[in-house]
Amino acid sequence: MRATEIAHIINAEIITGKDLADNLDIGTACGSDLMSDVIAFVKERVALLTGLTNPQVLRTADLMDIRLIIFVRGKKPSEEMIQMAREQGIVLMRTRDSMFVACGKLYQAGIKGDSSY
């Protein structure tokens, strides 16, 4: 599913990377505030949903080749994070939905997670 479609489903504002979002294809998603778990379990073409807003979220995404980060619960990333995302070619979005609701909407729309670890 394209990242722009994802933004539409969860009514998210694209903070940076609008030009990238059109061609960004997402296969699955991971909802977590634990970056260590993201590092341990994430696979390919993943969108990361998180309520954390610190630069380590961007570092984690960079390491794991995550190209889309969705901040839930209306969280706002700092200017430093937005700048890092631009440099790294990562799309940032923000939704007012809770983690549970955002994940639920995306799952219902056909984005399936890895079912077991």
């Binding site: 970056m35 260590s36 341990a40 610190n54 630069p55 570092r59 984690t60 960079d62 390491l63």
Partner: protein, 141 residues
């Protein structure tokens, strides 16, 4: 080729710089993406450990024709029980670190999973050295 990095204590805008820099260098060398990811993940966990637990320290990465050797050195409090620290979910990270999304007790297990060899030497009140080796596929430079 040996590359050195300084890892400051509890500086979370700097923590992760060594591993992301190494990821780019290895990508430029044209190494296989799966190997690069393993090196970057393991280095990142080691870096975070030094920033959180080790009181800061340094990293050395040596790239040779047959492998990548990384060493992470700190002069922090040391690890009291390495076997316990290797267990998934065990962590001594304080609350404020957990609030940042770390301290899940996955660091050392993640390093072990991603490195071909992991050696931890630690002495209480003296410090810790973590050595990780990654083999290069035959024929790669």
């Amino acid at each position: 080729m040996i590359i050195e990095y300084t890892i400051p204590r509890l500086d979370f805008s700097a923590a992760g710089k060594a591993s992301t820099d190494m990821k780019r260098r290895l990508t430029q060398l044209g190494l296989p993406p799966a190997l690069i990811k393993r090196v970057a993940i393991a280095m990142y966990e080691a870096e975070m450990n030094i920033a959180i637990h080790g009181g800061g320290g340094r990293a050395e990465v040596e790239i040779s024709h047959d492998g990548i050797m990384t060493r992470f050195i700190d002069h922090g409090p040391g690890i009291a029980d390495i076997e316990l620290a290797m267990q998934e979910g065990y962590s001594t990270a304080p609350e404020e670190i957990r609030d940042m999304g770390f301290g899940a007790g996955m660091g050392l297990p993640n390093m072990k999973k991603n490195a071909d060899e992991l050696i931890i030497q630690s002495e209480l009140n003296k410090g810790t050295t973590v050595q990780m080796y990654f083999k290069l596929p035959v024929g790669e430079q």
